[in-house]
């Protein structure tokens, strides 16, 4: 049973008929995620899939978990705008957490298709570590630049 985190599901539009395939795009930074979403949308359209942007925002100690350094309203507005730019069904899940990797691992449905913005590097990076953990959990992980470029 995963420990509960602060979750904000931002209903950009109602999920009326859930698509059979869901691409989970991990939010890293605005520019990188926007680029990734552009190509992921093309991919999703071809497959009849929908996109979920997954943003796990870390709140550092000693701040309380509900008082993130970036205003929640600001993040919501940004993510909502990002989702609305897309031409395919796009949803946003926004979590405030203490640990990004743990949170993402907890909230992903089994055997998800996860898209990580950026490129796979040969040296250890946070995204490489996340990808490794997600693969170990049984998810399919794609680095956006590697797969779609």
């Amino acid at each position: 049973m995963p420990s509960k985190e602060f979750v904000r599901v931002i209903p950009v539009r109602e999920r009326i008929t859930p698509a059979t395939l869901d691409l989970e795009v991990i939010f890293t930074d605005l520019a990188g995620t926007r680029t990734t979403l552009g190509v992921a949308a093309q991919y999703a359209r071809d497959l009849g899939a929908q996109i979920t942007i997954l943003d796990a925002q870390v709140v550092p100690y000693p701040l309380p978990l509900d008082r993130p350094p970036v205003a929640v309203e600001f993040t919501e507005r940004t993510l909502r705008a990002l989702a609305q730019e897309q031409t395919v069904e796009t949803f946003v899940e926004f979590y405030l957490c203490r640990d990004r990797e743990d949170t993402i691992r907890q909230v992903l449905e089994p055997e998800s298709i996860v898209v990580i913005p950026g490129r796979k590097r040969w040296w250890p990076t946070a995204d490489n570590r996340l990808a490794k953990l997600l693969r170990r959990d049984g998810h399919r992980v794609i680095f956006a630049n590697q797969s779609f470029a």
């Binding site: 420990s3 509960k4 985190e5 701040l63 509900d66 008082r67 203490r98 640990d99």
Partner: protein, 746 residues
């Protein structure tokens, strides 16, 4: 007891058009005591890098004993914080002082805390710069490279400015580090400490050395600078004053305890026990890393050269250990890496902390909203960050890399925020009586509790704070100036904000609402077998308290539901969000979250709109496949009637009906348990005897023997009663049953 039978009918409680609301909040993430201790120690243990040098410059060679004494005194301060946490799950110094003494002193205390945070950054960064600069010089000397040589103070200023600007920018961007790094940093620090604690005694075996002189008044060599305004007065001749001044110069070794109050909210169940363990780990670790290492440093570094190492005492300790130079240099590099990690972390924490404190007071209307304007691109409160970083940079530049100077100034914020916090907790002893933990050493005189331990700790802290006021000229000038400026800023802000209508209550939890068309266990994240607690009145939540206390979350999740009553007409239409989750639900769930936090257990929150609350409760329990539905005793009806109405609602559920038990909780009496749905009855002892006697008689009949079981006899009896129910006069049967109930006294 089985509820009376009723004709099954279609569920009427929850309209198919209305939604249920799953409410989530942040209160429900809990950490272990190891994680909590690591977070506190990241702040508190960083002082070991500079406290030894600062205190020895101020009070002489006896300084390590004073540091050790302060670290032992930290166990008392630990108890103050534990008592405070037992009353305020989310209580930092501001909340505690505001609640106990009032807003004016609270503003003073938060000003002192802000001074503490502002100084934490520069002292940590400058100290890290000193260690790094001097290491580079050592490497330069060892390798005979002239270009690897820097003036340590200038280097530390340069390094501190870079580090501060780096963390300012990362905070402006709002890119925080994962909290798991705290644990990793402490693991690395522990490795360093273990090596030191093994290597240093080996060194003492080869080069025996005397312990530092005991901190008696004759051994305390206070300079004119460390006596401050006491110098040349009669006070400098009074031993008690001299000892207080010496403690004052060592007290900043304890800075960082405030983090204990910040993490308490997230400490897991059993909360108070885990807090005690956390605090004990923190204090013991601090005694070893700050106290013992300071003693070892004075013993191992020769008196003739120790003054060279005042700004990098651990570096000096390493370079004076026995062993090959290359090995010592390697370990020195490791020590500096750990130091830069932990001290740079403290710089970051200071910016995060001060930003958090300023935002917190702004929520209370004590700071102008202008400060909280979010950054256009990043959404962070950049004006607060800019202001605080600017103050830190000015402090770094004015200090010119002098750790002693910064330490002197730093002490002001540390000691006054401790003293005011302790005073707040002491005052609360006479204002509140809900302390789950009390600092030891309390006696009762004439029915009045005298908190000797707490009063003594508060007195010591105040005496030291007052001694500091007169002995630390820099701290007093710097601290009072900053405190006054901040206090005036808070006063003006409060005055300006008083004119604005503040509609939002800050004491209520913020909830995120997930509207679902129906109750389902996946959305609730509750496993089958959960405990469902129905609540409605936030003043009557004792049943939730009992559930929180008794439930093992490894086995059962807890779901807390409230029924939003809607009229039968309204149920035909979709309700607006604010109708489903109104102010009352927010207040009710804020109390629920507060109780859950205090217990350190997570709960799932659910609002179900319904015409009939009993239908809503049983339908929810059925859909979640709960094992137990817990309700409080009703003020409007007897427990039996409550059980009956819930039982009837259960009978109206469509087949197959999920069986579960109903617990009706009374604050003064044991709970009443009722099994809903078919279940084996608990027979009266005399009925069990009767059943057995009948069985004995029947088993003697030829042909039956031991083929007959007790259950067969019950079956026959029930079928006969059923037949009688159909044929006899119901009133006669009711009279018989009523007589039976009275006879059994139920």
């Amino acid at each position: 007891m089985k509820p009376p039978a009723a004709t099954p009918q279609a569920p009427t409680g929850v309209s198919s058009t209305t939604k249920v609301v799953v409410a989530t909040t942040v209160a429900l993430t809990f950490i272990t005591f190891w994680q909590a201790a690591a977070i506190v120690l990241n702040d508190l243990a960083s002082t070991m890098y500079y406290i030894g040098g600062i205190t020895e410059q101020a009070i002489g060679k006896s300084a390590p004993w004073m540091v050790l004494a302060v670290m032992l005194f930290s166990y008392a301060v630990r108890s103050v914080y534990m008592e405070s946490c037992s009353m305020f799950v989310r209580g930092g110094v501001y909340i505690v002082v505001k609640d106990s003494i009032g807003p004016t002193v609270a503003k003073l205390s938060v000003s002192a805390l802000v001074v503490d945070y502002i100084l934490t950054g520069p002292i940590s960064a400058v100290s890290a710069g000193q260690y790094l600069g001097r290491l580079i010089n050592d490497i330069g000397d060892s390798t005979h490279q002239a270009f690897l040589h820097f003036e340590p103070n200038s280097f530390s200023v340069f390094f501190s400015v870079i580090v501060t600007l780096y963390f300012w920018w990362s905070n402006i961007k709002g890119v925080p580090e994962s909290s798991h790094k705290a644990l990793r940093i402490m693991q690395v620090t522990t490795v360093m400490l273990v090596i030191l604690l093994v290597w240093a005694p080996i060194t003492l075996l080869f080069h025996p050395s005397k312990l530092p002189p005991l901190p008696t008044p004759t051994n305390l060599h206070l300079t004119n600078e460390s006596l401050g305004w006491f110098s040349g007065t009669i006070f400098s001749q009074i031993s008690f004053v001299v000892i207080l001044v010496a403690i004052g110069h060592s007290l900043l070794a304890m800075s960082g305890f405030e983090t204990l109050a910040q993490v308490y909210r997230e400490v897991a169940y059993p909360k108070m026990k885990n807090l005690r363990i956390t605090a004990n780990i923190v204090c013991t670790y601090a005694v070893i890393c700050t106290g013992v290492i300071s003693v070892l440093a004075v013993m191992i570094i020769p008196d003739s050269t120790r003054s060279m190492y005042y700004d990098n005492m651990i570096g000096g300790l390493v370079m004076n250990l026995v062993g090959p130079n290359l090995l010592k240099l390697g370990f020195h590099v490791f020590v500096v890496i750990v130091g830069v990690l932990i001290l740079a972390g403290a710089v970051n924490t200071s910016l995060i902390g001060v930003n958090g404190v300023m935002n917190r007071v702004a929520e209370d209307g004590v700071l102008l909203d202008w400060f909280r304007k979010p950054h256009k691109k990043f959404g962070t409160t950049y004006r607060i960050l800019n202001l605080m970083t600017l103050l830190q940079l000015i402090t770094i530049i004015i200090s010119r890399g002098d750790v002693y100077l910064l330490g002197e100034a730093y002490a002001f914020g540390v000691v006054w925020s401790f003293a005011l916090k302790a005073l707040g907790v002491l005052v609360l002893r006479y204002q509140r009586h809900d302390q789950e933990y009390k600092m030891p050493f309390n006696i009762r005189l004439g029915g009045i509790e005298i908190p000797i331990g707490l009063a003594a700790t508060t007195s010591i802290l105040f005496l030291v704070a007052i001694a500091n006021l007169f002995s630390k000229k820099i701290a007093t000038t710097y601290g009072i100036s900053f405190t006054v400026v901040l206090y005036v800023l808070f006063l003006i802000s409060e005055h300006v904000n008083a004119g604005k209508k503040r509609e939002q209550r800050t004491d209520l939890e913020k909830f995120n609402l997930d509207h679902q068309p129906e109750v389902n266990s996946q959305a609730m994240r509750a496993r089958p077998g959960c405990v469902l607690v129905a609540v409605r009145d936030y003043r009557r939540l004792w049943h939730l308290g009992k559930v929180l206390e008794k439930t093992n979350l490894r086995r059962h999740d807890i779901v807390v539901m409230t029924v939003r009553h809607v009229s039968s007409g309204a149920a035909e239409y979709d309700l607006r969000d604010d109708q489903l989750f109104a102010d009352y639900e927010q207040e009710l769930f804020s109390h629920v979250v507060s109780m859950a936090e205090k217990e350190g257990k997570s709960v799932e929150l659910l609002v179900v709109p319904a015409v009939d609350p009993f239908d809503a409760m049983v339908q929810t329990a059925a859909k979640l496949e709960a094992t137990r539905l817990v309700v409080g005793v009703s003020a409007r009806m007897a427990s039996e009637e409550l059980a009956q109405r819930i039982g009837l609602a259960w009978e109206r559920l469509p087949e197959p009906r999920h069986p579960f038990s109903l617990e009706i909780t009374n604050p003064d009496r044991p709970s009443t348990f009722v099994n809903l749905g078919p279940h084996p009855p608990r027979l009266w002892p005399e009925d069990v005897d009767r059943l057995h006697k009948i069985w004995l008689r029947l088993s003697e009949l030829p042909g039956l023997g031991f083929k007959i079981h007790h259950r067969d006899i019950v079956g026959i009896a029930l079928r006969r009663l059923e037949k009688e129910l159909e044929t006899s006069v119901p009133e006669e049967l009711a009279t018989t049953i009523e007589r039976e109930i009275h006879k059994n006294g139920s």
